[in-house]
């Protein structure tokens, strides 16, 4: 918990970091309250005053972002989409780093045969085609937000594990590890009390990048038509727009979901990079 506060504090210090945290805060608020402030039911077909279905109606006071081919309110769908994006992205990022961190720590610290086996496993996962593999897993396990999180975590931990392992390899030779060993600390105690705190900053940067990538991937899965059929996501809005083959008559249907993803993911990237700059001031552009 404390590490998250230090992270936020460090990011807050830089102007870009502060800005991206504010943007992230807005998205978190939308994820919590979005469905409550949505003006319409996102799945309801809306009719105009002349009792006709509002097909592809442009933005208006009643429908801020217009309506879909089925007459559904796009603004309300957008407001419902923030929650799955953040929950799926957040859980995947957490799972990715939890697995990647542990595998990286164990492989890097123990070395030898353990390292060799763990790295071969990582190699196998590195060879898997990213999106196609996720889609195969989804057709194996059914499509729901939970299975999407599991499927994404299953292929995303691989890069984190490699990055963490490389860092642990150099940390292992540091004097403080030898000092801990002399005091009679066990391997596990050294690993999780001495080494792990030193790779946590790197793991945090990785969490940010994993979050960014998970949000984009979740949208791509939805767009390809393999998303959770029960929930409205930004990816599924775009899938509907594309599948309807009428999206080219209704830019208001296509543009907003992409903008939302772009702004959210950019904010995550900038927060991660701001933290990286605090860790390594040389990266600063000035």
């Amino acid at each position: 918990m404390q590490i998250i506060f230090t992270f936020l504090k460090a990011v807050w210090k830089t102007p870009t970091g502060r800005f991206s945290l504010i943007v992230l805060g807005i998205f978190v608020a939308l994820a919590i309250f979005g469905p409550l402030i949505a003006p319409h039911d996102p799945m309801v077909r809306n009719y105009g005053p002349d009792r006709k279905l509002l097909r592809l109606a442009g933005p208006s006071w009643d429908h801020w972002l217009g309506t879909t081919l089925m007459g559904r309110d796009i603004a309300s769908q957008m407001l419902h989409g923030a929650r799955p994006a953040l929950i799926v992205g957040g859980l995947t990022a957490l799972g990715t780093v939890a697995i990647g961190l542990n595998i990286g720590l164990i492989a890097g610290y123990f070395g030898g045969r353990i390292d060799s086996i763990l790295m071969r496993i990582t190699d196998v996962f590195l060879g898997l085609p990213f999106l196609p593999f996720i889609i195969v897993v989804l057709s194996l396990s059914g499509r729901s937000l939970t299975t999407i999180v599991i499927a994404m975590t299953l292929v995303m931990w691989r890069s984190t594990a490699r990055v963490i392992r490389a860092q642990v390899l150099s940390l292992r030779e540091m004097p403080f590890v030898a000092a801990a060993r002399i005091t009679g600390a066990s391997d596990l105690a050294i690993l999780y009390r001495e080494v792990a705190p030193n790779v946590l900053p790197l793991a945090l940067v990785n969490t940010a990048f994993a979050l960014a990538w998970a949000i984009i991937t979740e949208a791509s899965i939805g767009f390809l038509g393999f998303g959770d059929p029960q929930s409205i996501t930004w990816g599924s809005i775009l899938y509907d727009a594309y599948a309807s083959q009428t999206m080219y008559r209704a830019p208001w249907w296509v543009v907003p979901p992409g903008i939302a993803i772009m702004v959210l993911v950019s904010a995550v990237y900038f927060a991660g990079r701001a933290y990286e700059e605090v860790l390594n001031p040389r990266l600063k552009g000035i």
Binding site: P132, M247, R282
Partner: protein
Amino acid sequence: MTRYILRRLFYMAVTLFAMITLMFFLFRMLPGDPTATVISPALDEAAREAMRRRFGLDQPLFTQYLAYLRNLAVLDFGMSFRTSAPVWDMIELRLVNTLLLILPSMIAAYVIGAFGGALIAWHRGGKAEGSVVLFATAVQSAPLFWLSMLAILLFSITLGWFPTGHIVTPGKFPDPTWRMYLTWDFLHHLALPFLVNTCYQLCFPLLLMRSTMLSTIGEDYVELARMKGLTERQVLYGHAMRNSLLPLATTLPMILGWAVAGSVVIESVFSWPGLGLLMIEAITRSDYPVVQGAFLLIAVLTILGTFVADLLYGLLDPRIVYR
């Protein structure tokens, strides 16, 4: 060095074998009878049985696995459940289409990214740097399929400059041969997906190059080059940029494997008949031999790519010692 290469080759073989095994059993775990889509329920029991025998599906799982390995050893990827065509023949053509789109676009992305990143790092602190970084991050943060949709909306629908999809005008080449790729029609269809993919992919090398350059610029040898009286140009391209190319060059081969796998979304939007689209079609139709073959091919590309990346690292950075 030779020992290192031999050991790596051994590891690669082990990784590939593990991968093949994992794939084989994963696809056999998929729900439903893999033959259900091929074998029509209307067929009588004898015909079904004959069909199953044809695909070797009447054998126990382990026997099937051994047969699969035996076939792979002679580069036989099996045959498609759906069309009964050899998997390799189906993949080969699609791979060519994907590579024709991805390779030129990745090369363009890396060249533009490397120079662009070096330049903005060199002129750091200015207004231009801030806006380029912001713009590149924004593009990188947008989903590729959405950028493709916007591009179609703008350049194909509104301006009418490019076709909205497909590799050539449908129906124009009833019997596609390699001559198809030498026509203006093909280039016209290639242009838009190529541009979108290049713009998207160049953000990563650009930002990576910038951050590497920022740490290189502070190095003593850059200062020394400047003190020798070299022009700014010579210092930039001959010293600072040259030494910053290392991390970039090592990402290229791996990224290539990922780009081929990631071509799924761009090919879906542009109806580009490549490997990515083939995989999606095969997954939805439960045509597992095809998916398995495509996965295997991508795995080989990625594993070979990683190996080349590691060798490149040593070639470019003499400080690295292979053990």
